[in-house]
């Protein structure tokens, strides 16, 4: 395939779907499991058509039990499969938390390397869709804190396409967080060549005054904020974290050493969060470069509110710019 023909514009969900299809086609032990992912194609239609294409032994509509899904995925991985689990919504991952934390995350270590655990857990996460309780949460901190897991979150269709394939290829368990607000976002996907490795962070926009860092759906918001800031004379660099565990600090530190100021944006409650870690680490490693403390713009430390308040709860362009102003005012 030549570069020219390999670039297509498609929505995020379709790119994910294409990535899943490519992984399934290249390894017949890649298998999808979850609630309503087969005949229905998943509530977000990410797996649409895959059961028809690969059969119901490769795309399983499982019983309704998340611990059971992840627990049997572990057993399948022991038997040589590469299961890709879909959790229907962020808030429903907790029944599987024990299997993820005490088992999936630890089994390779417990086996002293004798057993790999190539299990991917896909979780549509985050807000912006006006849904009922448990359907808009951002549980990434729980996973990022857990040794043995890798945690990633694509924010563009191109990353969705490549990162899902890289996650499936990983011999380690990967928590794959899909910003559900972006499922319909269209973008260019280059199916010939991956731009970046799975765990690299990415400079999404160049700038000189303040470094904006975030993940998932917030990357779009940060880019919008940067555009607005530019019109007001402030030049923001935007870094898309992409990988929440491990975190690729190189581009962030490099940026902060140039700008001296940083704002982190996330939808999750801020207390003991990925943003806390990034802030603490950046301040530790770039202490003398900083002209103001790393500021965090997060979801409030409350349960995700009823949908009519999500606009208040979720960090938006204004709240990010407010933090940018505060950083600049130091």
């Amino acid at each position: 395939m030549t570069g020219a023909t390999s670039v297509q514009t498609m929505p995020f969900a379709k790119a994910l779907s294409a990535g899943l299809r490519a992984a399934m086609a290249s390894d017949d032990h890649v298998l999808l499991m979850g609630e309503d992912i087969g005949k229905l194609g998943g509530v977000f239609r990410v797996t649409e058509g895959l059961q028809a294409e690969f059969g119901d032994r490769r795309v399983l509509d499982t019983p309704l039990a998340e611990s059971g899904i992840v627990g049997t995925a572990i057993g399948l991985a022991m038997a040589g499969f590469r299961p890709v689990v879909e959790i229907q919504f962020d808030g429903f991952v907790f029944p599987a938390f024990d299997q993820i934390t005490t088992q999936l995350a630890k089994l390779t270590n417990r086996h002293e390397g004798a057993l790999q655990m190539p299990v991917v857990i896909r979780i549509p996460y985050g807000g912006h869709i006006g849904a009922v309780e448990h359907h808009q949460e951002s549980p990434e901190a729980y996973f990022a804190h857990t040794p043995g897991l890798r945690v990633v979150s694509p924010s563009t269709p191109n990353d969705a396409y490549w990162m899902i394939q890289d996650a499936i290829a990983s011999p380690d368990p990967v928590i794959f967080l899909e910003p559900k607000a972006k499922y319909w976002l269209k973008g260019e996907v280059d199916t010939a060549e991956r731009a970046l490795p799975l765990h690299a962070s990415r400079i999404a926009r160049r700038g000189t005054d303040v470094t904006l860092v975030g993940h998932g759906a917030m990357v779009t918001t940060l880019l919008q904020a940067a555009a607005l800031a530019e019109s007001e004379g402030t030049s923001c660099e935007v870094v898309d974290l992409r990988s929440l565990s491990p975190i690729d600090y190189g581009p962030i530190l490099d940026s902060v050493r140039r700008t001296g100021r940083m704002v982190y944006a996330q939808e999750a409650p801020g207390n003991v969060s990925v943003g806390s870690e990034v802030a603490a680490t950046v301040m530790e490693r770039a202490f003398f470069a900083l002209e103001s403390p790393v500021l965090r713009v997060s979801g409030f430390d409350v349960p995700f509110p009823p949908a009519k308040l999500e606009g208040t709860y979720l960090p938006d362009v204004d709240r990010i710019l407010e933090a940018v102003d505060r950083a600049l005012a130091y």
């Binding site: 609630e35 309503d36 087969g38 005949k39 229905l40 194609g41 509530v43 509509d61 499982t62 019983p63 309704l64 039990a65 611990s67 059971g68 808030g91 429903f92 907790f94 029944p95 006006g130 849904a131 009922v132 309780e133 448990h134 207390n271 409030f300 430390d301 409350v302 349960p303 509110p305 009823p306 949908a307 009519k308 308040l309 999500e310 208040t312 709860y313 204004d318 709240r319 407010e322």
Partner: protein, 376 residues
């Protein structure tokens, strides 16, 4: 999976509304004989009224008034039968599709609407007597079954059941679905219920589907048979027969209240509508199947039965009018619903003051005020 016409089925009214008890129904007939004409009419009215509300809510969602609506359409008999078998002092733990249960116990339908509109997570206050001890919906499937069991343990420890006085004895009834039955929490709820002999009824509405997944994926054998493994009696009932649903629930609740321990019921019914307004059932089920269940519509069945017993046109017309008025009232009140103050987000996370709530609420107020100031 339970075949819809399992020989163990308790059914009193055939699909066409004729009185034709199955052999298993015989022992329940005295409970049905004890019902007055008014009781029968109430059952019918409950079903018709809530179906009208349910349809109205579906329309409201289509009109953009609600984020989501999970219809109870088709499950009215299972819900009315069981809820009319409860006593005022009983506690009810619904899952999330029990609109018939909730409203029959006194919950204002607008409170359910508020949940589905994105104005509230809980909707109503279960400690307010007006709500008939109806606990709020739980969206994490199966997890509320443990709350019901724990509540039942509290009844045992406080001597609220098995007192010898049926007017004082209390019970809990917990509703869950065929899909939820696979969750580990449901198992643990049954383990604890049997160990502590809670005065509790596990009421499983097997509506054949968990979104797009047929009950055969959850279990190849009848779900009600699980109860025996915990030492719990169970009954399989035609959930589209309101009389049978009433009778089996009544007996189970009476026994539980009196101290006989927990009981289980599987009500065979059908989700006649979509899973929710976001769902398209044509993707996963046939219209043949839907039609075959339309033949067993619980309201049509009771209508035929009452009609045969001599209920008048005037009665049916009056019920229809009441239902329309009820649904209309919901529509009017839905359209009048206001918004939410940002401060409500922080107000109830904790019962006692918490520094992060104080700080973040203050910050939000000042931040919002800064815009107001800017616009002024």
């Amino acid at each position: 999976m339970t075949p819809p016409d399992d020989p163990a089925l308790v059914r009193v009214l055939a699909a066409d509304g004729t009185f034709a008890p199955t052999p298993e129904a015989e022992r329940f007939l005295p409970l049905i004989d004890a019902l007055t004409d008014t009781d029968l009419e109430t059952f019918y009215r409950d079903m018709v009224v809530v179906r009208a509300f349910d349809r109205q809510a579906t329309h409201l969602q289509r009109q953009g008034q609600l984020a989501l609506w999970p219809p109870s359409l088709g499950q009215e008999a299972a819900q009315v039968g069981s809820v009319r078998a409860t006593r005022p002092q009983d506690h009810l733990f619904p899952s999330y599709r029990e609109h018939v249960v909730a409203t029959t116990r006194g919950v204002d339908p607008i409170d359910i609407i508020r949940v589905m509109r994105g104005l509230s997570h809980g909707g109503w206050d279960p400690t307010d007597p007006a709500n008939g001890n109806t606990h709020i919906y739980t969206l994490v499937l199966g997890s509320h079954t443990l709350h019901a069991t724990g509540y039942g343990m509290g009844m045992v420890f406080d001597g609220r059941c098995a007192t010898g006085d049926p007017n004082r004895d209390e019970a809990v009834i917990v509703y869950y679905g065929d899909g939820a039955s696979s969750q580990g929490d449901v198992h643990e709820a049954m383990v604890f219920a049997n160990t502590y002999q809670t005065p509790q009824v596990f009421f499983l509405q097997n509506n054949q589907w968990a979104i797009s997944v047929p009950v055969a994926t959850q279990s190849r054998s009848p779900l009600h048979a699980r109860a025996a493994g915990y030492g719990m009696p169970s009954t399989l009932v035609d959930g589209n027969d309101v009389l049978a649903s009433y009778a089996v629930s009544k007996l189970a609740l009476d026994e539980a209240r009196a101290g006989a321990g927990p009981r289980a019921i599987e009500a065979m019914t059908y989700r006649m509508g979509a899973h929710t307004t976001s769902d398209d059932p044509t993707k996963y089920r046939t219209s043949d199947e839907e039609q075959s269940w339309a033949q067993r519509d619980p309201i049509a069945r009771m209508h035929a039965y009452l009609r045969a017993r001599g209920a008048s046109d005037a009665f049916f017309d009056e019920v229809d009018a009441a239902a329309a008025a009820y649904a209309d009232d919901v529509r009017v009140r839905t359209n009048a619903l206001g918004g939410l103050e940002a401060s409500t987000m922080f107000a109830h996370v904790y019962s006692e003051p918490h520094p992060l709530m104080v700080e973040q609420e203050r910050w939000t107020a000042e931040y919002e005020a800064s815009f107001a100031g800017g616009a002024a």
